[in-house]
């Protein structure tokens, strides 16, 4: 048996490993020697103040832009110099914080693009799969609607739908719970739990911490592009450092 390339601490194989990733835009550092790994099927939560570099970290993982330094490994391969398209084929899918729908196409066609291009499905099989995912994300009634005319909530669902239609091994979710009602939020948490249960690894950036806590196995905190804390969710949230930097509520709350 070939030994796993990136054994993580608990012995599971890492699906993703960041190795001292750094990136800056002029004076702004968005990633500062960022290292961590995600195990197969793990759900990792990411929090941090606005502008800390969370979305940028996703951009580095998906290949939207390349790092100045450091490497990214996915599923046993060094993907640092791989194009965004190839990474998608390899099994990384994301939802965008600012939704990026194909506005001139219908919801169903948006889903079809993910299914045919990224997941490589064909014809009838692709169509059926998209219908299934749309049902799961409750967008089926909107299947024939142009994506450009969806409401914010529906756009966020579309983001999720597309990511799922790509049949990913690693799903990156960027603030999908913001602005949801409690009921919607519960439904979302359930959906993500289901996805997680099906064996997909997840990294979830979220400011709605209680939703995050309900799903993730582990939490990391990022500030100024640096990982400043990592560990068991409950513990992390209670650390005074996180309270100050993230919640900004100092000791008074």
């Amino acid at each position: 048996m070939v030994p796993p390339l990136f054994p993580s601490e608990d012995g599971m194989t890492a699906i993703l490993r960041l190795d001292h990733l750094s990136k800056s835009f002029g004076a702004v550092t968005v990633a500062d020697a960022l290292s961590y790994e995600v195990a197969q099927g793990e759900a990792l939560g990411v929090i941090g103040p606005n502008g800390a570099g969370k979305t940028s970290m996703f951009n580095l993982i998906t290949g939207t832009f390349g790092p100045d330094n450091g490497r990214v490994f996915f599923d046993g391969k060094d993907i640092t110099n791989m194009s965004a398209a190839k990474r998608s084929h390899a099994g990384i899918a994301r939802s965008f914080q600012v939704p990026q729908p194909f506005s001139g196409m219908t919801v169903f066609e948006n889903a079809m693009i993910a299914a045919t291009q990224s997941a490589g499905l064909h014809g009838h099989e692709a169509e059926r799969f998209c219908l299934e995912v749309l049902e799961q994300t409750e967008l089926l009634p909107k299947a024939n609607v142009l994506a450009g005319s969806l409401t914010l909530l529906e756009r966020k669902r579309l983001e999720m739908t597309r990511a799922l239609c790509a049949k990913p091994k690693l799903l990156l979710l960027d603030e999908i719970a913001g602005g949801l009602t409690e009921a919607e939020c519960k439904f979302l948490v359930q959906t993500i739990k289901d996805i997680h249960a099906s064996g997909v690894a997840i990294i979830w950036i979220e400011h709605v911490v209680h939703a995050l806590m309900a799903v993730v196995d582990r939490l990391i905190v990022i500030d100024f592009g640096k990982k400043i804390a990592e560990g068991e969710p409950q513990k992390i949230m209670e650390s005074p450092e996180v309270k100050e930097i993230y919640l900004g509520i100092e000791a008074d709350a």
Binding site: A84, F96, M105, F108, A114, E127, E135, A143, A166
Partner: protein, 342 residues
């Protein structure tokens, strides 16, 4: 409500009717040599070639976002290849037209690698420079007449068919065939997986990239295929013109400006647009061409007004009004009857 009852369709009633009417139209047009005069056939032949050029330009600009004002490079290249291959290679004109397409594809590869470095409007200018380089380059080839150009020897023209009537019918059918071929190819391409990817790129490059679409390669493919077909159309055009010269072969007005106007007026980014645009363009031309320059001024004004007031062109207006699509590209989910909300 069960998912099994949902179905997905890619056609519509309007489209089926249009397909039947279209087929009838094509059959009628095939028979034109038996009922139309020489002048009409020449006009129709020209119309078909413009339709083909317009559909190709629309694929590039309207779908792949490659706004080129240098397509004359490939029109002229194809024309020159026809002359060179028949005169020096001794090929039959048909073989030369096909080979012109292959060669067009080959030269478009390095061209694409170079000008894909430019974005937006600068890409447009880059393509124009390339066309100028082609023009000046061919002007240096003295075997093809240099700057003065060359006539197609009568022997080659006669090798098509010895009788004039037959030659004229043949070149008419070639033009018709080219138009039908190009429109069909564009349609099938856009319905394919690649076509879906192309439309996605047009809507949102960032999202397309992250969904596994290789943007550079998709655009590159479109560029190469378009160039190849454009070169073949170019060869056909100069088979009709009989004489080629750098200025005529690489004319930006004739092979690009008019084509752009056709697409804009008809409706950019739709398959129907170029067809409507070509009809409107030729209608304008036949009624106003005697006014000479005034006609071109009118054309320019029409294009500007359309661009500002109805950026989706005539077909765009029709489509928003009647929700009509003659060449259905999209998917429609059909909900089960009892499921009213879909």
């Amino acid at each position: 409500m069960s998912l099994q009852n949902y179905s997905v369709t890619r056609s519509s009633k309007a489209a089926r009717v249009a397909a039947v009417l279209g087929a009838l139209c094509v059959i009628l047009l095939i028979s034109a040599p038996w009922w139309a005069g020489r002048a009409e056939m020449r006009l129709l032949g020209e119309l078909f070639l413009y339709l083909a050029l317009a559909s190709l330009w629309n694929l590039m600009a309207g779908y792949a976002g490659l706004v080129s004002v240098g397509q004359q490079a490939f029109v002229g290249f194809g024309g020159y290849m026809l002359f060179a291959l028949t005169m020096f290679g001794g090929l039959h004109p048909f073989a030369a037209i096909a080979l012109a397409g292959v060669l067009g594809a080959l030269v478009s590869v390095p061209v694409a690698v170079l000008i894909f470095r430019l974005r937006g409007a600068y890409f447009a200018i880059g393509t124009w420079v390339i066309a100028e380089v082609f023009r000046l380059g061919f002007a240096q080839v003295s075997a093809l007449g240099g700057g003065s150009g060359s006539s197609l020897p009568m022997a080659i023209v006669k090798s098509l068919a010895s009788k004039r009537d037959m030659r004229e019918a043949l070149s008419y059918w070639l033009a018709l065939g080219a138009a039908v071929l190009v429109v069909t190819c564009v349609y099938l391409f856009l319905r394919s997986r690649q076509g879906l990817a192309l439309t996605a790129i047009r809507d949102n490059e960032l999202a397309a990239k992250s969904l596994g679409i290789d943007i550079w390669r998709t655009k590159f493919t479109v560029y190469v295929v378009t160039s190849a077909l454009t070169a073949m159309i170019g060869a056909l055009i100069f088979l009709q013109k009989l004489r080629i010269s750098p200025d005529a072969a690489f004319s930006v007005n004739d092979w690009t400006a008019f084509v752009i106007f056709i697409v804009v007026i008809g409706g950019i980014g739709t398959i129907e647009g170029p067809i409507i645009g070509t009809l409107v363009f030729f209608a304008l031309r036949e009624t106003l061409a005697d006014l000479g320059t005034i006609y071109l001024i009118v054309l320019g004004i029409v294009a500007i007004v359309v661009m500002l007031k109805a950026p989706k062109g005539i077909w765009g207006l029709i489509r928003t009004r009647f929700d009509l699509q003659l060449f259905p590209l999209g998917y429609r989910v059909i909900a089960p009857k009892d499921d009213k909300e879909a």
